[in-house]
């Protein structure tokens, strides 16, 4: 009798429904598979080891941003400020290296702390003042953008640059140990890829197999029920925004290391792609909710499209059409059944 409960109940779904369910669950993965097949048929270089690691490396930054976005979505929120946080972190690590010749540890820690701080500000605005997330974090986005541009007076930061205030040449450079984060390789695998895969795995385990991870989901699933079950929901919402900020900052560090510059406004384009990746993730395995494996697959889809379409010489603007189409398709899979 007990065994019966655990084993799957007989699924009485008829054939048509089974097909629909199958597509709901695996549609996105099928689409990914299809894309890969098409690209490898049209281009024999597509499925080479080198290209695959390149694709993974190119999505590593977006994936980190998207993981942060996923956290905010899990608790039922939304964080539009991640792009500006990436920019701030990029500029901060650049400034620490170049203007202040700091050590690696400092260069890594300060941006992460800044990211956490931005998360706290977001949490204050959204959780405490109760401004709707979308709008509150939009305002923070403006502010952070302004702050990081004001700090550098609009200049990008690179090794031994002339100081913006005209006081000679900056003393520091982008040290190799730092550049390794974005450009290095371990066992012939790009370091950012390793970093990304490890973080995806850790976050997946965290979200699914730890108490705290489940409490995030509970908070997002039903704030009131979670509160009544004894979950300190406001604390977990705050954590989520802080994590969102920290992951964005980490993405900023990797970005700075990858391009070797503290590029102002560099994070702006990452917001949309990060959000798109997290949203595509909803549809993976029919999860219907934010999940980190889905987010990862979403980022892979976006990365593969960029890579493959560029190889096929499709102009970047036409790529946007395909990106939008994929997004609509994935979302239709998630939401169309929810009709009624």
């Amino acid at each position: 009798m007990k065994q019966l409960n655990i084993s799957d109940y007989p699924q009485q779904a008829d054939r048509k429904e089974r097909i629909v369910n199958f597509f709901m669950k695996f549609g996105t993965l099928l689409a990914l598979g299809l894309i890969i097949v098409i690209f490898s048929l049209t281009n024999e270089q597509f499925l080479t080891y080198g290209n695959i690691t390149d694709i993974l490396r190119s999505i590593s930054i977006v994936t980190l941003v998207a993981i942060g976005v996923t956290f905010s979505m899990i608790v039922g929120g939304f964080d539009l400020s991640v792009g500006s946080t990436v920019s701030l972190a990029t500029v901060a690590s650049g400034a620490l290296l170049v203007w202040y010749s700091q050590e690696l540890l400092v260069v890594l820690l300060v941006p992460l702390v800044l990211g956490a701080l931005i998360g706290l500000i977001n949490a204050f605005i959204v959780v405490k003042i109760r401004i709707p997330d979308l709008i509150g974090t939009l305002a923070v986005m403006y502010i952070i953008n302004g702050v990081h541009l004001t700090y550098t007076k609009g200049y990008s930061i690179y090794g031994n640059m002339p100081m913006p205030d005209g006081s000679g040449t900056a003393p520091g450079i982008f040290i190799p140990a730092f550049q390794f984060i974005g450009q290095g390789r371990l066992f012939n695998i790009p370091f950012p890829v390793i970093l990304m895969v490890v973080i995806v795995a850790l976050v997946h385990l965290f979200l699914n197999y730890t108490r705290a991870g489940r409490l995030f989901y509970m908070t997002g699933g039903n704030k009131e029920a979670a509160r009544l079950s004894g979950v300190p929901v406001n604390r977990y919402r705050t954590y989520a925004y802080v994590l969102s900020g920290v992951f964005a900052a980490l993405a900023g560090i990797v970005l700075a290391a990858r391009i070797g510059t503290g590029q102002v406004s560099a994070g702006d384009p990452l917001l949309m792609d990060g959000v798109a990746a997290a949203l595509i993730g909803y549809s993976v395995f029919g999860a219907g909710k934010p999940n980190v494996i889905g987010t990862f697959i979403g980022a892979i889809i976006i990365g593969i499209l960029l890579n493959g379409l560029t190889m096929m010489n499709v102009p970047y603007y036409a790529q946007d059409i395909i990106k939008g189409g994929i997004l609509v398709g994935a979302l239709a899979l998630t939401y169309f059944r929810k009709k009624e």
Binding site: Q45, G50, G159
Partner: protein
């Protein structure tokens, strides 16, 4: 507003060169004279006070724009004035608004950087009516009474492409990085199309490009894909990246893929670009550029001449130089001393009136 920018500008190009040479000679002579006998009395009253200058810019991202802004600020500061930067962040209507705001402010002179005539002509005319002189840089405004300086995108593109053609011996596969929507890039594209026609054995095998706030990284990722598509050594001979943000990304992709045999030909130069080009085994071998700080200096000086009531030409083109890494020394070079290595780089005395040294000296303390 119904002019034909393309054909006309080509005419301009030839005209410009002539005018510019003339001006240069003229100014050089006068400046040589004036250094010896400078005195406060010579400073025209109109400029002998702190002037308020407005600089209307279409965008200010990228190192070129940053150094251009520093150039403006430095030159105006030397003259004892104050410059207000109006940045439109790539929004032309905002740029038109900014121009209007500056006019309402009764500034003493207006500098315009980029933008399009159709959007700005009205404002420029209004400024002139109010007696505010205008000097433009790199756009197609042709209102009477305006001095238009340009870094001549056509020559820039031709300069670097000529070098490219020579290096690959007029034959080979090249990759083109380009995006529309920006006047300079569109102009450079005109020359590129002509170049392809001129060298039928040069084949464009891939084209990509997009301009965002993260142009360099986007170019890097896209170049990686192209490199993967053409993995054999020698399948790509060169990349033409007519904007330094493109060139930076492409260079990094090539370096990180270890495909140093591919050479990059860019346009624009900044301190950061110099560093990248001078790095060991850098694939970025050639760029064509003018010194942004100097462009700014010339523009400011023309404006002051106008305020002082002097004659100024309606057009003035700064001669771009082609910078080959091979011409540079081994030790690292900054923008300030590129001129010592590249012939014709910079002409610090362009548009320099006799009283300017005195004015600078007076505000020096």
């Amino acid at each position: 507003t119904d002019q034909q920018p393309s054909s006309q500008s080509e005419e301009e190009a030839s005209e410009e060169t002539a005018t510019e040479e003339a001006t240069e000679e003229a100014t050089e002579e006068t400046s040589a004279e004036q250094t010896s006998q400078a005195s406060d009395a010579d400073i025209p009253a109109a400029v002998d006070k702190p002037l308020k200058i407005a600089a209307i810019m279409e965008f200010s991202t990228g190192t070129f724009a940053s150094q251009y802004v520093s150039g403006l600020e430095a030159q105006v500061a030397k003259f004892g004035g104050e410059v207000q930067i109006y940045n439109a962040n790539n929004d032309l209507s905002q740029m038109a608004n900014h121009l209007q705001t500056a006019i309402n402010q009764d500034v003493d002179g207006i500098l315009i950087d980029h933008g399009r005539a159709e959007a700005l002509n009205q404002g420029v005319e209004e400024a002139l009516e109010k007696g505010i002189p205008v000097v433009t840089f790199d756009n197609d405004i042709t209102v009477d009474g305006v001095t238009a300086i340009s870094q001549d995108d056509y020559s820039l593109a031709w300069g670097t492409l000529k070098q490219l053609a020579q290096d690959i011996d007029g034959e080979g596969n090249i990759v083109y990085v380009w995006a529309g929507g920006f006047t300079p890039l569109e102009r450079r594209n005109v020359i590129y199309e002509a170049f392809l026609e001129h060298y039928p054995n040069v084949e464009e095998i891939a084209r990509f490009g997009s301009v965002s706030n993260n142009t360099a990284l986007d170019s890097q990722n896209q170049m990686e894909a192209v490199l993967k598509k053409y993995p054999e050594e020698g399948s790509i001979d060169a990349v033409f990246a007519p904007y330094d943000e493109f060139a930076k990304g492409v260079t990094r992709a090539i370096q990180q893929a270890g495909r140093d045999e591919i050479k990059v030909y860019g346009i624009d130069l900044s301190d950061e670009d110099l560093q990248i080009m001078q790095a060991e085994n850098s694939p970025w071998v050639t760029t064509a550029a003018t010194d942004p700080a100097e462009v700014a200096g010339v523009q400011v000086r023309f404006l002051y001449q106008k305020i002082a009531g002097e004659e100024t030409p309606s057009i003035y083109a700064l001669d771009p130089s082609v910078v080959n890494v091979s011409d540079l020394p081994d030790e690292s070079v900054t923008m300030a001393d590129v001129g010592q290595h590249i012939e014709g780089w910079g002409s610090p005395n362009a548009a320099r009136s006799p009283w300017m040294d005195a004015l600078e000296a007076k505000n020096g303390q």
